[in-house]
Symmetry: C2
């Protein structure tokens, strides 16, 4: 029974988890095709959000996104062939997080798609662990990560891969690496939550890149201008960097013996799942989350569908819904009132181990964001983690944005597994 953990031992393990979440120092090092830089990413790999499912279980927009990624990569000539090759195992479909990637909505990755390469330099080990995230496709509501694949989507993916990513990568490399935490800290003081609003962070990132872009402009001005345009055209560009930073931060607590702190939250088309630091890489699955959404014009609530999503990794480290009182402009985008946002944000302190030393909320007199969700506090209080998310429609595409609450079942299953491993105390 050496695994048995007393309450003080669990508290100590959770304090260590909080310490690592606070000490994380994610640095953007490069932008490269996934197949070149992500360990284990073979030419025939397709990633998608959430715990890996048997192929027949992928449905709707998430299935469409996987097939679209296979077609985009040239792994099949058409959907029928892609279906067959996946079923045969010639194309391998896996959950993003198996390869330290993190998926936005359906989260489709194929080998040639560029990814942000982020290293958590404060993480244990000589070099620090890595996290990867794909690049925002742009403002069009019809995107591969929202389950749509057609000529327009393909062209935008090519534009990102052939034009934006190489220039962005060149500028990033010329800086020697861009520390992301200072950008994130400042952005929270400029009304971003770093999940559904990344307006300031995208500008601050653009400013950090600017010396590199100026150097490029001497010979390739158009490329530099296109990067600036891609970075600042709406509120979302930095989200993928926030997600890669959060992934590398959260992974640093995976495997802390005895810790009951949640280390990931993710959707796939079948439901919602969490991981717990002291329980390794096991997913604990529940039903779909409940959602309150504001929909874009012309859409209705019955269109809302689930096709995956791993961006709640940002909430896992104390951002997004856990920093909503820093981002009052979100009321226009996803609904809610400022007073409600403050109240909800405050309630989350009841389920976390502590407060973030760096991520702070001006309206709460610079109190640190609630950080490190303890699964037992969730079960004791009945307060479930709250997330700010984009909402997908039945026919593909983004149809709105809203807030969701994690289902309690994941926490019940995780607590059961924790007790089985560590005992009842």
């Amino acid at each position: 029974m050496t695994l048995r953990k007393s309450a003080p031992q669990r508290a100590a393990a959770n304090a260590e988890a909080l310490r690592r979440l606070g000490a994380a120092a994610p640095v953007l090092l490069d932008v490269r095709p996934a197949g070149e830089v992500v360990p284990g990413f073979s030419r025939d790999t397709i990633l998608t959000s959430g715990p890996t499912l048997p192929w027949p279980q992928y449905v709707g927009g998430q299935r469409a996104a996987v097939l679209g990624a296979a077609l985009f990569e040239g792994l099949a000539a058409n959907e029928t062939e892609a279906e067959r090759r996946i079923a045969e195992g010639a194309i391998k479909v896996r959950g993003c997080q198996e390869l330290k990637c993190i998926g936005s909505l359906a989260g489709p990755y194929s080998a040639s798609m560029p990814v942000f390469v982020v290293q958590n330099r404060a993480a244990a080990g000589d070099a620090g662990n890595f996290g990867y995230c794909s690049i925002y496709e742009g403002t069009n509501h019809r995107r591969l990560n929202y389950g749509v694949y057609d000529e327009g989507v393909r062209d935008r993916l090519r534009y990102v891969g052939d034009v934006i990513a190489p220039a962005l990568g060149e500028a990033v490399r010329s800086t020697g690496g861009i520390p992301l935490k200072p950008i994130m800290v400042s952005a929270l003081h400029m009304s971003d939550d770093l999940h559904s609003r990344n307006t300031a962070a995208s500008l601050l990132f653009c400013r950090a890149l600017f010396p590199g872009l100026l150097a490029m402009a001497a010979t390739r001005r158009e490329a530099a201008e296109k990067v600036v345009q891609a970075l600042t055209e709406d509120h979302y560009f930095f989200l993928r960097l926030s997600m890669a930073a959060a992934k590398s931060t959260a992974d640093a607590i995976t495997g802390i013996e005895g810790s009951s702190v949640m280390s990931a939250m993710a959707f796939n088309c079948r439901g919602f799942s969490i991981r717990v630091a002291g329980l390794g890489e096991t997913w604990f699955n529940g039903p779909h989350a409940t959602v309150e959404a504001v929909l874009f014009k012309g859409h209705s609530q019955d269109e809302i569908t689930w096709m995956g999503g791993e961006s709640p990794i940002t909430e896992t480290i104390g951002l997004g819904g856990f920093a909503q009182a820093a981002a009052f402009p979100l009321q226009k985008y996803q609904g809610g009132s400022p007073e409600g946002m403050v109240k909800r944000n405050l309630s989350l302190y009841n389920i976390t181990v502590g407060e973030n030393p760096d991520f702070r909320i001006p309206f709460l007199q610079y109190r640190g964001t609630p950080t490190g969700v303890d699964i037992f506090k969730v079960l004791d209080t009945g307060i479930r983690p709250l997330m700010n998310i984009g909402v997908a429609g039945r026919d593909g595409g983004q149809i709105g944005a809203g807030t969701v609450q994690a289902p309690i079942e994941c926490f019940q299953l995780a607590a059961k597994a924790y007790r089985e491993r560590y005992g009842d105390e």
Copy 2:
């Protein structure tokens, strides 16, 4: 008695003032030396903040700033000569606003100093009226506009004039003009008040300049880099653009017959003054304002001194203190609590004619900022306009930041003049 105004006539005049304040469309057209672009700015002109005073009445930091500007311009070889030449009238010292300029703190201008050229394209008349503002000297607390002139200050002024301004002007001209209102509207959603915090606005302005700066990079990359550095090194660069925009906005209501809406607030070293739309360019003077300040380390309250300031032109159009509930990060810089900032901001709706159609406060569910101070409402309620300001020290330099309340005497004098002109109705 044709001047006599009934209450409905006054209300209509004030509604027109509110309309013009809301309709303003300030556009940055150029950056040029004051002597080249400001009508009436002769080689021997020195401007300084507040209503023009007889030379002997300028004291302390404001006098030092005027003398420093004269020396910087080479109008005298030393302070004694400058004093003599001013006394003789060979150097002309005037209040900034006589020439449509607007002064930050002591507000020193000389002919070679570069200014932002802003046109209010929505103002009455074919071309729209102009406003001008000098350029931020940089992060050093010892600056000419805070009453300090020495070699370091001179070198920084030269750097701004010789390096930053020409490159900035080139980038601005290459864009064909930069509309400032969209930047200001967005910045209020990113925790700026556009008086004491301009962090987001400076970044957004920088982003608007990027295409011009990238074009410059081919031949003058270093200059482009220096401009970006100057724009983003702290929270203040955009203030001068906010001030020039506000000046061109407020001037558009000057002369509306019968309006009791305040059209300017300004300090000089002798006191605080206001203008009223229906009373032309007359200043109504009161004593110094009362201040609540947070001082930089090593400074004490007894050092606080008054050496002028026209940045409350931003409050005049519904920004700064009138938008403080948009800028909770100010609590760290100038004191106060978020709850207090909300309460104070709300109280200002009691003294304004209406709400700004464009400048909106996310925390107040996007309510427009209180805009258009009616001097009679100030007198009826006893609520005085509140401003966010930088605080100057006795020995020169900025020593902190805080909030001030306008003295009631200005409003009493203005009301008396209004009644004399328009009757007692």
